[in-house]
Structure formats: structure tokens, C-alpha cells
């Protein structure tokens, strides 16, 4: 099965001008956050929501920074080494298959 992430671009995040620099997280940041992971995971399909989020990320320094971190973390998790099935399990499963 092909991995979904294979076709993902290096980054989805584009900087515009960072004019939105709230002292603290405000409502527009919280709204952006609500969509952020779906966006980074290629699960946000609503074009209006995508446009609104991209606009916010392009102008809000703190949200852009957070999104950058999460995008990097996504990349690191996809690349992380997973435990491979040990040979004992492989032969155990092979025995199971042979008995089918």
C-alpha cells in the first residue's frame, strides 16, 4: 500500500507579512489551531477553511512558528525508526499461515 505522505510537499507553510503579533493567543489563533493538524495531515478539505487558515498562518508569527514546529514534528515522526517484527514472530506467523 502506498504511503500517503510520499507525495507531500516539503512544507505547506508560506510566510507573508507577520503583521498579526498578539501578546497572547487570541480567538483568531484558537480558530486557526482548531484546523491546524487536519491541515498538516492533509485532512482539511474545505477550501474556504484552508484559505482562512493559510491567511492567518501567513500573518501571525506565533501561529506560524507553532505550525512550523508541528510540521517538523510530523516529518520526524514519519521518519522515526519503528520496531521491526522479530524473527521469532515471523516464523510463528509463518507456521500459522501454513496451517490455514
Amino acid at each position: 500500500m502506498p504511503m500517503r505522505q510520499a507525495s507531500r510537499p516539503q512544507t505547506k507553510l508560506q510566510v507573508h507579512d507577520m503583521t498579526h503579533e498578539p501578546e497572547e493567543i487570541d480567538d483568531s489563533c484558537l480558530e486557526a489551531f482548531d484546523y491546524l493538524y487536519a491541515y498538516l495531515n492533509d485532512e482539511l478539505k474545505d477550501k474556504a477553511a484552508i484559505a482562512k487558515l493559510e491567511h492567518h498562518l501567513g500573518h501571525c508569527k506565533s501561529c506560524f512558528s507553532r505550525a512550523q514546529m508541528e510540521e517538523e514534528l510530523n516529518k520526524r515522526m514519519r521518519q522515526s525508526d519503528q520496531e521491526k517484527a522479530p524473527s521469532t514472530l515471523k516464523s510463528r506467523l509463518q507456521d500459522l499461515m501454513d496451517e490455514l
Partner: protein, 202 residues
């Protein structure tokens, strides 16, 4: 209906193709190699017993993951929970705590620290440390993050595995990743990576 020999070949090939993934998931669930092997073997046996109930062959992967997860819940879960984290792991997954509350109360230093031009934090962060932070998440968030961000399942597929709605997956992803940020921040503090000199490798 395919012939039994075709079905057997289909099943064997797909189990083999997903063997590392289901073992990795089983290990993260049970936190014990012997139990993980038993869980995989038991799940594969159950999967073969119900292979004719698989409506869509293209959904074999989430279907097999679901059997592993359900078998874990029914036969292994109680054993896997460490006494010290019982309350943590049994925390309600769909609690009323708003993600925004976690974000707003995050240390103000967090983003400034992360956003330093050298990005020293990620340069110093090993894959095993990210894995350890994921393993410390409550179970429902841990499994959601693993299925989507490590195994590459879609939200729909993860919803099928965990028998919840895609909306619940989205909510768990938001909360799980926010908690993961907190775990990494905690780790970075403990490891001294938030001190500029150490973070830069001095």
C-alpha cells in the same frame, strides 16, 4: 466469492506486508515484547477466522489494525497499564477540557524557545526521544497519533480502527498533539535543551 486458495494467498501477502506495522502497534500498546508477539499472533488468527467478513479488500490494513486494537482492549489492556499511570491512562478521552486551555496556559517561553533561528531543539532531539514522549501520552491520544502520524492512516481509516467518528479522531489529534508539545517541552527542560548554550551544543 474468491477460492479459498486465492483468499489464503491474499491474506498471507497482506499480513506479511503489514507485519512490522502491527508488531510496532502491538508493542506500543502492550509495552512488552512477549505480549506484543502474542497479541499479533492472536490477532492474525482472529483475522483469518473472520476474513470473509472483510467487505473491501482495500481496507485490509485498517481492518487488521482494528482487530489488533480490539484484541488488546479485550485481552491485554489491564495488564499493560502501569500502576503509577492508571489514573492518567484512564482519563476520559473525550473530556470537556478545551484544547485552547492547554495552549493558553503553555509557558510563554515555549514559542520563543522553539522559534530560535538555529532550531537547535529539533537538531538535538532524537527519534527515540520523540517516541518516548508519544509513549507517555494517554492511550487514546497515543494510539491516534501513532495510527495517523507514524502509520500514515487517514482520519477515516483511524476512525474505523478505533470505532469512533472522524470528528472524534480530529479532536483526539488536536488534544494529543497539544499534550505531545507539553511532553517535549518538559523533556527539553529536563535535558537542559532550553538553556541557550546547551541547546546550541556548547
Amino acid at each position: 466469492m474468491p477460492l479459498d486458495s486465492d483468499l489464503k494467498r491474499f491474506f498471507s501477502e497482506n499480513v506479511e506486508a503489514n507485519m512490522d506495522s502491527i508488531y510496532s502497534l502491538a508493542l506500543r500498546l502492550t509495552r512488552n515484547r512477549a505480549d506484543a508477539e502474542d497479541l499479533v499472533a492472536e490477532s492474525v488468527t482472529k483475522a483469518w477466522a473472520s476474513i470473509k467478513k472483510l467487505d473491501n479488500p482495500d481496507r485490509f490494513r485498517p481492518w487488521l489494525f482494528r482487530i489488533v486494537h480490539n484484541t488488546f482492549i479485550s485481552d491485554y489492556r489491564k495488564k499493560s497499564i502501569r500502576p503509577a499511570e492508571t489514573a492518567y491512562d484512564e482519563a476520559p478521552c473525550e473530556g470537556t477540557e478545551d484544547v485552547s486551555a492547554i495552549l493558553v496556559h503553555q509557558p510563554n517561553d515555549f514559542l520563543n524557545w522553539w522559534a530560535n533561528p538555529e532550531k537547535a531543539f529539533f537538531n538535538n532531539l532524537l527519534g527515540e526521544e520523540i517516541n518516548a514522549a508519544i509513549d507517555r501520552l494517554p492511550e487514546c491520544f497515543r494510539v491516534t497519533v501513532i495510527l495517523i502520524n507514524i502509520e500514515g492512516l487517514s482520519y477515516d481509516e483511524a476512525a474505523e480502527v478505533l470505532d469512533v467518528s472522524p470528528g472524534t479522531i480530529r479532536s483526539r489529534m488536536n488534544r494529543g498533539r497539544t499534550l505531545l508539545q507539553k511532553e517535549l517541552w518538559h523533556y527539553a527542560n529536563e535535558a537542559g535543551l532550553t538553556t541557550p548554550d546547551k541547546a546550541a551544543g556548547a
